[in-house]
């Protein structure tokens, strides 16, 4: 079992790293499936050549390959090494093994980034602000558990697939969010995390093109990442969606993300990532904030709330209602949510409430809410933003 994992880990990395290196530079190939197969075959041949026990055979077959233009001949060459499995399957197995629910959540993230991503142990340690030996230890323990507890190295069978794919997507989304909305850490490293999550999601989508939630997650990440540059002001402070310079949004990412959402939703199996991506697409496709289709966003949040009820979704829904129907309607919703107490430590509850109070001209209440949000916010850019708004509502009152 370990043998499988270690060998696959080694075998996959070449082709995979090539994909990770080339795709961001060259863009996604016109036919990624064929590209991967070709690369996998080329890599398989490379390995075959390297294998000493098979040197002779490889040379012989290598000569055959040089002459053969037919794909079937290459296929035969790959099959010549009996323990060689198609690399495409290896990569998928590896993702599922790294994200197995029996591994601790932090280890799943680290193992995925280390094994499938291009990040080194020190880079991952820096990204998650964990001492390097701690992270190295985490990886060692995870690999040991894979071996000793008999965590299977395979793509889960159909009856487990939905559940396990969910876990894989969660790991990728966590990596992305750590990079996108992190409350701590160095900006460059965080950007690398977003890029890594997107690259891995691209590979997953290529390997599992019929999974709408995988498409949805990739779309969601692209549609958020498109706003990355416009989201930060020169001084590093946070720029709200409505204040962002929309000309700085990455149009190519938006087009790609929107197309992915459409493709996913057409499959008729909506999910939380698809719905969130659809919401992000509506924001990204509005030429100005006032062009935003808020009623549609409210409807999407309602669908999301029924699919995956959570106070965070309710908060976003309340903010959308404020935009569609006015701040008073939104504030009623947020106050009802605040009364449940479930988000009392969540800074965005207080900052959203503060914003609506500010719009309604209730400056003292707004100031109190901004102060509460500030108590709960660590991120420097967000703190600067909240401090600015607090000054604004206290200035002339």
């Amino acid at each position: 079992m370990t043998g499988d994992f270690d060998r696959a880990e080694e075998a996959v990395q070449d082709a995979f790293v090539t994909a990770l290196e080339r795709w961001p530079v060259d863009g996604l190939p016109a036919n990624p499936g064929a590209w991967i197969t070709t690369t996998a075959r080329n890599r398989a041949i490379d390995h075959l050549r390297r294998d000493r026990r098979l040197v002779e055979k490889a040379e012989l077959l290598g000569r055959e390959t040089a002459m053969a233009s037919d794909a079937d001949d290459v296929e035969r060459l790959v099959e010549a090494r009996d323990e060689m499995t198609p690399l495409q399957d290896d990569r998928l197995r590896l993702i599922f093994t790294c994200c197995h629910p029996a591994l601790p959540a932090d280890a799943r993230v680290a193992l995925t980034l280390r094994t499938l991503g291009g990040l080194t142990t020190p880079e991952i340690a820096r990204a998650f602000l964990v001492p390097e030996p701690t992270l190295a230890q985490r990886l060692v323990r995870a690999k040991r558990k894979i071996r000793d507890a008999g965590i299977p190295y395979r793509v889960p069978p159909d009856h487990l697939l939905a559940d396990r794919l969910d876990g894989v997507l969660r790991v990728l989304y966590l990596v992305f969010n750590e990079g996108y909305a992190a409350s701590r850490g160095d900006a460059l490293v965080r950007q690398e995390l977003c890029a890594e999550a997107i690259r891995l999601a691209r590979v997953l989508v290529t390997l599992m093109p019929d999974e709408p939630e995988a498409l949805g997650l990739l779309a969601l990440m692209l549609l958020h990442d498109a706003r990355r540059d416009a989201r930060k002001a020169e001084d590093g402070s946070l720029v709200l969606l409505e204040d962002q310079e929309r000309g700085r949004w990455d149009r190519a990412r938006i087009a790609e993300g929107a197309a992915l959402v459409d493709r996913a939703l057409r499959m008729g199996r909506p999910g939380a990532y698809q719905l969130q991506a659809a919401i992000a697409a509506l924001h990204d496709e509005a030429a100005t904030p006032s062009d935003t289709d808020w009623p549609q966003i409210v409807a999407l949040y309602a669908a999301l709330a029924s699919l995956e009820p959570s106070p965070i979704v309710e908060l976003n829904r309340a903010v959308a209602i404020a935009m569609a129907e006015g701040p008073a309607a939104g504030l009623d919703r947020i106050d009802a949510l605040a009364a449940t107490g479930s988000l009392s430590e969540y800074p965005y509850l207080h900052s959203s409430r503060a914003d609506l109070l500010r719009r309604l001209g209730r400056r003292d209440d707004a100031a109190a809410a901004y102060r509460r949000a500030l108590e709960l916010t660590e991120n420097a850019a967000e703190r600067r933003f909240l401090t600015g708004r607090l000054a604004e509502v206290t200035r002339l009152s």
Partner: protein, 122 residues
């Protein structure tokens, strides 16, 4: 691989508090699970344990044997039984653990058996 599935379930202060029909129902469910694992050739062993009030703890310190009544920790869930099963991998062990009736009230701890080198036993 071999896995020990440890069944931790809430323990009633008095076994007699369980209504007989509920107890019969539980027995029937465990019987069904035992039969399934036997039929599939996975069963190596499986037993139910007497309640923790019958337990005795034994420690040897500085060469003398200390015997005390009961288990050490006062936890809500206690070890009530176990299955030793032969499984293909952890996924199969997890699927079987989820079928143990006690999983619905308590927790099943899945532990792979450590296959020690033969020389240890020699």
């Amino acid at each position: 691989m071999q896995y020990l599935l440890l069944i931790y379930t809430p323990e009633l202060p008095n076994q007699a508090d369980i209504p007989p029909e509920v107890f019969q129902q539980q027995l029937a469910e465990y019987d069904a699970f035992t039969k399934e694992t036997r039929d599939r050739g996975l069963m190596l062993a499986g037993e139910a344990l007497q309640p923790t009030e019958t337990a005795t703890s034994v420690r040897v310190r500085d060469g003398s044997t200390l015997v005390t009544d009961g288990p050490f920790a006062e936890t809500k869930e206690a070890l009530g039984g176990f299955y030793l099963l032969e499984c293909k991998d952890l996924d199969e062990a997890i699927e079987l653990a989820a079928k143990i009736p006690g999983a619905r009230q308590g927790t099943i701890e899945v532990r792979p058996i450590w296959q020690l080198p033969e020389t240890y036993g020699a």
